[in-house]
């Protein structure tokens, strides 16, 4: 479709249900992925709450969109960077997050972890290295 592939970094800093930012971000992520761009996600500050395990939204009458993150691997979204410090501040560890995977076609479709823990120094270079940064 498009010959130019850019690296898009989506920076997610909001919790999932109190505002619409998280859901809107996910919509835009899917659009970017559909256009076969190099789409990467970053979760920092309250954004880390978007990918916690065991979300159950029936009683608040809102759609639980967290399973969609599990489908992103099928759209070739391979990298989801999570800020270590933000997890720690909120009493979370990587075990509290969903087990998100992607399949590596160059490695006999081996399942690989999508979540990569990063510190602030790594975040600095990830932002600088991206072609486009979109904040939500």
């Amino acid at each position: 479709m498009s010959s130019v592939i850019k690296q898009f970094l989506y920076v997610n800093r909001k919790a999932p249900y109190g505002t619409v930012y998280a859901l809107e971000s996910l919509e835009v992520v899917l659009i970017g992925a559909a256009f076969e761009q190099d789409v990467r996600l970053m979760f920092m500050d309250d954004g880390v709450f978007q990918i916690t395990k065991g979300q159950e939204t029936t009683d608040i009458g809102m759609k639980n969109f967290s399973p969609t993150f599990g489908a992103l691997g099928d759209y070739d979204v391979k990298y989801m960077y999570v800020c270590k410090q933000s997890l720690e501040e909120r009493g979370l560890t990587v075990d509290d997050l969903m087990d998100l995977k992607w399949e590596d076609e160059d490695d006999d479709w081996a399942e690989k972890d999508s979540i990569i823990l990063v510190d602030r120094a790594e975040i600095k270079s990830l932002m600088t290295d991206a072609d486009v940064v979109l904040s939500f």
Binding site: R13, K14, D45, I123, M127, T128, S135
Partner: protein
């Protein structure tokens, strides 16, 4: 790289997160309520001033003037007009607008 912040640091942590993620040599532009972060002697000023040894901080003058803080802006923060705002976005390859 240009980081843009439009929220007061006394209300939201956008500026704080921005400063911790801005690599050396990048630019930070404060506008709308973000300019409240530019006030000299505030509880936030020290943090911003120490960041200014590695990054360049700009503030949108119309927003600074509108909020009556024009004579309180931290020394070293560069005031820009709307044209300057546009130039900053044009001169930087990557722009991150923090929410």
């Amino acid at each position: 790289m240009l980081h843009i912040v439009n929220k007061s640091p006394f209300d939201k942590n956008s500026l704080e997160s921005c400063l911790s993620c801005a690599s050396d040599g990048s630019a930070v532009l404060l506008y709308e309520d973000g300019v409240y972060g530019a006030i000299k002697g505030s509880t936030y000023a020290e943090k911003l001033q120490s960041a200014m040894s590695n990054i360049t901080v700009y503030a949108l003058e119309p927003d600074v003037k509108a909020r009556g803080i024009a004579d309180k802006v931290i020394d070293g923060i560069k005031l820009v007009d709307y044209t300057g705002f546009v130039e900053l976005t044009a001169d930087n390859e990557v722009v991150n607008s923090w929410l």
